[in-house]
Symmetry: C2
Subunit: 200 residues, 2 copies
């Protein structure tokens, strides 16, 4: 995740990186809270304390900035889930639940909340889809380690199981937000964890 995938194709100075990060973080926060359409360049400039010429130094336009926001939200999700590197889906699910319990409102996946908003731009949709694939691959790798450790049903395809786990998380979050009830997320995750476990 260290490669800057949007903006000019040249290395950034430490200061340049800080400025770019400030812009992306501000945009990510606004788009998380309000949505992509309701977030204008002027809002991002005000929230990040940067100037228009700085922003356009790093990003060709708002569409370009959205791609960087998707990358940033994937980073944020993966950083918040160190248990992805382990072999215990239960521990991972507990960390996801704890993240949302601590985060409070809005009860939404930093990445998933963008999914309904990327249909209008094929570049956004493709980047969002690739981000979910990257996340899903980490879950599949966890499940494969779990299979080797005797925790996860070895008769199943870890990649296919990972689709079900990620769907349970995303659907559980959608319903939990709608009902204003974190317990809904807990139930959805518990079902996913129970599904993959090895049977006696």
């Amino acid at each position: 995740m260290d490669v800057v995938e949007t903006g000019p194709e040249r290395p950034l100075t430490a200061r340049g990186r800080r400025t770019r990060d400030a812009i992306v973080d501000a945009a990510a926060g606004l788009m998380y809270a309000r949505g992509i359409a309701a977030t204008g360049i002027a809002d991002v400039l005000a929230a990040s304390g940067t100037g228009k010429s700085q922003l356009y130094h790093y990003f060709a336009d708002k569409s370009d900035l959205v791609l960087a926001v998707i990358d940033r939200q994937l980073e944020r999700v993966l950083e918040a889930q160190p248990e992805l590197a382990g072999e215990d889906l239960q521990a991972w699910a507990a960390s996801v639940w704890e993240f949302h319990r601590a985060e409070g409102e809005p009860l939404a996946c930093p990445l998933g909340v963008l999914s309904g908003q990327v249909e209008t731009d094929e570049r956004w949709r493709a980047r969002q889809a690739a981000s979910f694939t990257a996340w899903q691959d980490r879950i599949a790798a966890l499940l494969a380690r779990g299979q080797r450790a005797g925790r996860v049903d070895p008769t199943r395809d870890a990649d296919e199981l990972a689709v079900g786990v990620l769907a349970a998380l995303q659907g559980g979050l959608m319903l939990a937000r709608l009902h204003r009830d974190l317990h809904v997320l807990e139930l959805a995750l518990a079902a996913a964890v129970d599904h993959v476990r090895v049977r006696a």
Copy 2:
């Protein structure tokens, strides 16, 4: 679902009901395709071929119309899933998958697609949440019948299992739409069906 829950509190004539239905169907179609915010009253009038005075005879404002659209989409979902009245979750899942295969693009739940858009109005959110609860209760009833028929694990709480099933469907649809791949929905539903089945 025969009770008109919004608009004037008096019985509608057959013609009045047809007019009201035409308005709600047009609004539902537009909001499904474009979203609530991008659908104006003028669009609904044009699409339904009705006049402004007719629309305001049945609905106080756009906010009122959105509530009727949520009710209509719940009706549509339940009508498309007659297998909900049965005891076989596998048959239900197959019918859901078939509905989306036949429907094609946009690959989205007629009801669920509104979930990300109801946060700005507490009446919308509450109605959307109640609609999902109604749907979930039907799934729980199916699972309870499945338990009595020996199809579904009898040691689990049918209401809790239903949360996991609905989360899998909603999350599976979100990911399938993002990846433009109906197989993702199939995998998510298969995991949910497999999870609830009775173990040998």
